[in-house]
């Protein structure tokens, strides 16, 4: 039986000395707490099903360093690796896949240039093109008759607006319509982050996760808001997600990937243990 995937996400950046570090890590027992490769190995040992590296330096220098991190990780960790952050062109994608990543995640560049999805999917295959969709709830439904109106937890109607540049810029694009379009263009998977939930430890944004999971044929990775294993459970049951991504709950050492999977297994969610 196909299992639900648990995916730790590592935000990789540069420290003052130009070395790579993972943001928000609080493990005290690692020799070099922020080393992305050491962390990747640790999460692999804990039973992570995939890993996501997010390059948050968004600089030319950062990209070169990131490639080295991907190479070192691929040399030692034999589970799927997705890399995102600042990917703008076919050349960026080629470089990252060649370094040993299995998938790339495209966000702002896809919104600005949807052809990038089609072109890259044709060249490298749909399976390695993940479209990251960041969205935010918009309660103004009256002036937006063409948007997909969903019902929030308390019954309030809202539509979900795609946001770019890390959530700083609204686009006026309907997230449901955009998701259908990226599927058509050849995206193999969607990484969905609700900015209303990201960082809240309050649980996934269920209405939009469920809507996309039901409407699309490609898998949906739910992201943003996980504070405990129960939130993962809700993401898979109420949200119908295929995979769940989380950062903080693993980085703080509060739960291991294995803890989460044991919890899910007890509740009859198929997981790889």
């Amino acid at each position: 039986m196909l299992t639900k995937r648990i995916i730790p996400c590592l935000d990789v950046t540069l420290d003052e000395e130009g070395g790579t570090v993972v943001k928000g890590i609080e493990f005290v027992d690692l020799r070099k707490a922020g080393d992305p490769v050491e962390l990747a190995k640790r999460y692999n040992e804990q039973g992570a099903d995939e890993l996501v590296f997010l390059d948050i330096t968004a600089s030319h220098e950062g990209r070169g360093t990131m490639v080295k991190v991907i190479e070192r990780t691929a040399n030692e960790v034999f589970i799927p690796l997705t890399v995102g952050g600042g990917i703008n062109s076919i050349e960026d994608i080629r470089q990252i896949l060649r370094a040993g990543a299995d998938k790339v995640s495209i966000n702002t560049a896809a919104v600005k240039n949807p052809d990038l999805i089609k072109e890259s999917s044709d060249i490298f295959g749909a399976q390695c093109i993940v479209t990251a969709i960041d969205c935010r709830r918009n309660l103004d439904v009256e002036n937006n008759p063409n948007k997909t109106i969903l019902e929030l937890e308390d019954g309030t109607p809202a539509w979900y607006e795609v946001v770019i540049y890390g959530g700083r810029q609204p686009t006026g694009i309907d997230a449901v319509q955009w998701a259908k379009k990226v599927e058509e263009l050849g995206s193999g998977e969607i990484l969905l982050t609700s900015m209303d939930k990201d960082g809240t430890y309050d649980g996934f944004d269920i209405p939009i996760t469920r809507k996309l999971s039901e409407e699309l044929e490609i898998p949906i990775i739910a992201s943003g808001g996980v504070g405990n294993p129960e939130h993962m459970y809700e993401g898979f049951t109420k949200g119908k997600a295929d995979a769940a991504l989380a950062a903080s709950i693993f980085h703080f050492g509060e739960y291991t990937v294995n803890d989460v999977k044991e919890y899910l297994k007890e509740k009859n969610i198929p997981v790889r243990l």
Binding site: M1, L2, T3, K4, R5, E17, G19, V28, R31, K32, N44, D49, E71, A74, N75, E76, F78, I79, P80, R94, L97, R98, A99, G100, A101, D102, D122, I123, F124, G125, A126, Q127, C128, G188, E189, E217, I218, P219, D242, A243, R272
Partner: protein, 224 residues
């Protein structure tokens, strides 16, 4: 406690890579794009001397050959067309070959991906698309396998092991040519073998399937 960022060099033991005549030479056929590093590292992990090449002489002189696969069937077949006679000659020699994912699918007679296209015809059968249903396509993630026929490449691999899949098309072949089956809406061949037994294909990615996958790559190197 803070640890120093740099460890004095004398404490680090770095074994020098070495190649000797006992190491098996495995050639990964290079016919385009994608991540070949993981397959390479997985095989090196198993103690092989790995070369990525599209040179017919390198392929023919290999102890083992990997046919990797990423992308679309039609494009991949086009890219591998010039190596077809080399591959046929290699397979006829009886030496082992492993096709991975699309590389496995290319071993079949035909595929319906991108319009009916002929494959390498090393194993009789066809490649079909998963039918439309409630299930997501691509079939992506870790699924459990059922071993239906023993073969050295799966020595020590247990029924119910999890391996990593990502594909929208699946292989339909005879029971005789099936080594492993997997369930995703329909039961499909997750690993296949030719009649002679030297050509094996896996729909899943052993190089992405953790320790289970590394064991399979190790078994392959041992066959070579």
């Amino acid at each position: 406690m803070k640890y120093p960022n740099k460890i004095p060099h004398r404490y680090i033991h770095v074994p020098k890579p070495f190649f000797n005549s006992h190491m098996k030479k495995i050639v990964i056929i290079d016919y385009g794009l994608g991540n070949l590093r993981s397959v390479r590292k997985g095989l090196e992990h198993a103690g092989a001397n790995v070369i990525i090449s599209s040179d017919p002489e390198e392929i023919k002189s290999a102890d083992g050959v990997i046919l990797p696969g990423v992308g679309a069937f039609r494009d991949a077949m086009k890219n591998v067309e010039s190596l077809r006679s080399t591959i046929d000659e290699y397979v006829a020699s009886g030496k082992p070959m492993l096709g991975i994912c699309l590389g496995q699918q290319m071993m079949l007679s035909t595929s319906e991906e991108g319009g009916l296209t002929e494959g390498l015809n090393l194993v009789k059968g066809q490649v079909l698309r998963f039918p439309h249903s409630d299930l997501k396509v691509p079939h992506m993630g870790w699924n459990s396998i059922k071993i239906t026929q023993q073969h050295p490449i799966f020595n020590g691999i247990n029924d119910g092991s999890f391996v990593y899949f990502v594909h929208s098309y699946y292989v339909d072949t005879t029971d005789k040519n099936t080594l492993i089956s997997c369930e995703y809406g329909t039961e499909f061949a997750a690993a296949i073998v030719n009649d002679a037994g030297n050509v094996v294909g896996t729909q899943f990615h052993p190089e992405k399937s953790g320790d289970t996958g590394l064991k399979i790559l190790k078994n392959f190197v041992a066959m070579c």
